[in-house]
Point group: C2
Chain length 392, copies 2
């Protein structure tokens, strides 16, 4: 139960500049992992008017056609001409990638593979709550669905004047029982072509994007709508706003409802605990809620660089636990192995599965384009029974 | 009171690559604001081996010597030669800055200055707790002090072999009463010159950095120390790790103890609510705790782009309130004006005050180099009496 009577979360579409950067970083990661699962990748991207700059540290034996990957991602999103502000086929692609520092590497690689050290220090959180059927907070869930819908009606031609860049925001009202009971405000800004009038745009956004996505019973006369409040949004993408990898970490996770350790996900291979341990944290928290041990649960883990065992594992059940808190912590320690090696093994992370994670959230959903036919492994509730068993 | 029995926060020194980027972005912002307080600045920096790339959107009449500013920041930090991995005097400085989109600008500027619209949508949190005398969570407070101390003993020559890049992490143990009672683990990695041996480095770090900073009564035989756990950290700065503006948002704020809306601070003028409303949130929360209305308080605000009034204001007092929750919310609304115009006016934000914010945290401290002789205005408890008065 939250003590906030209102809670607001936001999301952005795949055409938002920071998300272009995230998707490029993860597409490069995927291309490398497909060839060389033991590669070390930390890929950072900056996009600005007419240019994508690729940086970071990569150590691999794989050869990938970096330029084609970058151009492909930008074109796939829909930035295919100067008219929309960015053109994957003609923009500049600049590569200033370096190698992983051998001094970091010596802390990570160990003779005994199981002892693999964390790729960095850091703190990560995982979260789940029974507020939605996907065990995610409701505000971020609906914020994502709005921008996913924007992309859908743009792609399928329902609203031909839509362009790729968009943002959404949802303010939910919570009742005294801590359950969402209505929507106070919706913000949606979408890039558009110059032909559509503001009033036509607003009507179409309400009818084709907002109403099909938000539960009708949560909308009322007191719901406030802010649709393209600046009045004009023809210029979008990297011309209007420089994009960087890792700058949408709250959109990527729980929309602000859960705490965040600060580490970004995209472009990082799973030896980086910023990513793999945050995924594992979601998996642990979701299994706790799925097992009925708490209706709301947040886990914090932390690591020291070069060390396999976490420096801390700690749990918050917000008073919603059905079993004593200490016992849940003990069961988590028994059922989950949170060393980097074990997380990578148990969640099967050394595959090119990352590009679909890079827009519309890393948690609480199954991506519409599934690589390898598999779902996000960290969304499985496959350890709920083991947790119950550990509790006797 | 937290339900976490352990809580971990981290910090990084001013020589960390992401912090180099933050400081460059804020130094550019300061130089522009000094000449043109009405400038619109969103400055993003990427640093990698031998190069600093400056991007973002800036609209101003001021002329600033961008290259000199960038070189000055890098040199001031201590990156003054290829030996340490980066040299402010000889690195490349690339400028790909654009202008603010006129379509965004038309949403922000209004005929009546008071109606100034938010520069973007978004959600922001402010937080305070009586855990420390600066009304900040203890873990981030001590994590900052460790890296500040690293910089001090590097600069004053106490430990001549230290180099600029460093990271700290502190795991605190909390008692049943929710008060910190001991330190479980300390992680400290610092860049160093190749002459110092690992054992000498570890001893010196304990004696000269850790012991002078951490309360003796919190250290015990069970405290675990991880000092330069990779064994070697001669290569540092942008060679070892690409740095980007806005990638240390949890270090910048509350170390993960509070929620985060996701917006970065550095490089942004205060028309961007990501920065100004997060500062205001800290100010509100700190005044609530200073007024004794709660011992722990988190506020969430949200905005729609182009709108002056927040789309939501909501409060969490975690059951620590001494006055009914609703009444505190009403008093906040009466005492604080959270429109962008009013925040900028009341916190006096249109001055070159930002560079000192860009390392060691934006909250809970007064910077050691004070610009304009003033303290961080958002740390003042100047509205505590007004809050009490509003409550009758
Ligand atoms: C408002 S911009 C960030 C501010 C920008 N850096 C500046 O210089 O003011 C953030 C996001 O808002 C969206 N955006 C861009 N132009 C917009 C417009 N004219 N109206 C509404 N939203 C817009 C895009 O998704 C963009 O990435
Ligand atoms: C470990 S690096 C991030 C990972 C990196 N991108 C990679 O390719 O593996 C993050 C930070 O750790 C610190 N660091 C760099 N080299 C290190 C070393 N040899 N030992 C410990 N910490 C190091 C620096 O502060 C750096 O910015």
């Amino acid at each position: 139960m939250t003590e906030y009577s209102l809670f607001t979360s936001e999301s952005v579409s795949e055409g938002h500049p920071d998300k272009i950067a995230d998707q490029i970083s993860d597409a490069i990661l995927d291309a490398i992992l497909a060839e060389d699962p033991r590669a070390r990748v930390a890929c950072e991207t900056m996009v600005k008017t007419g240019v994508a700059i690729i940086s970071g540290e990569i150590s691999t034996n794989a050869w990938v056609d970096l330029e084609s990957i970058v151009r492909g991602v930008i074109n796939d999103i829909g930035y295919t001409s100067s008219d929309v502000g960015f053109d994957g086929s003609t923009c500049s692609v600049i590569n200033i990638i370096g190698k992983q520092s051998p001094e970091i590497n010596q802390g990570v690689d160990r003779d005994n593979l199981e002892d693999q050290g964390a790729g960095d220090q850091g703190l990560m959180f995982g979260y789940a709550s029974d507020e939605t059927d996907v065990l995610m907070p409701a505000p971020i869930t609906y914020a994502h669905r709005l921008v996913e819908r924007q992309a859908k009606v743009r792609r399928d031609g329902t609203l031909k004047w839509l362009r790729p860049d968009a943002k959404s925001q949802v303010t939910l009202r919570y009742g005294a029982d801590g359950r969402p009971e209505g929507i106070d405000a919706v913000v949606l800004s979408t890039q558009h072509n110059p032909e559509i009038s503001l009033s036509d745009l607003r009507e179409a956004v309400i009818e084709e994007i907002i109403k099909p996505v938000l539960p009708a019973e949560w909308l009322s006369d007191s719901t406030k709508y802010f649709i393209n409040p600046t009045g004009k949004f023809v210029i979008g993408g990297p011309v209007g706003d420089c994009g960087l990898t890792g700058r949408k970490i709250i959109v990527d996770s729980y929309g602000g409802m859960a705490r965040h350790g600060g580490g970004a996900f995209s472009g990082k291979d799973p030896s980086k605990v910023d990513r793999s341990a945050a995924y594992a944290g979601r998996w642990v928290a979701k299994n706790i809620v799925a097992a009925g041990l708490a209706s709301r649960c947040e886990i914090q883990v932390s690591y020291a660089i070069g060390e396999a065992q976490p420096t801390s594992i700690s749990l918050n059940t917000f008073g919603t636990e059905t079993v004593p808190h200490d016992k849940i912590v003990a069961a988590v320690r028994e059922v989950f192995d949170l060393r980097p090696f074990a997380i990578i093994r148990d969640l099967d992370l050394l595959h090119p599965i990352y590009r679909p994670t890079a827009s519309y959230g890393h948690f609480g959903r199954q991506p519409y384009q599934l690589n390898r036919g598999t779902a996000f492994s960290w969304e499985k509730t496959d350890r709920a029974e083991a947790l119950k068993a550990a509790l006797g």
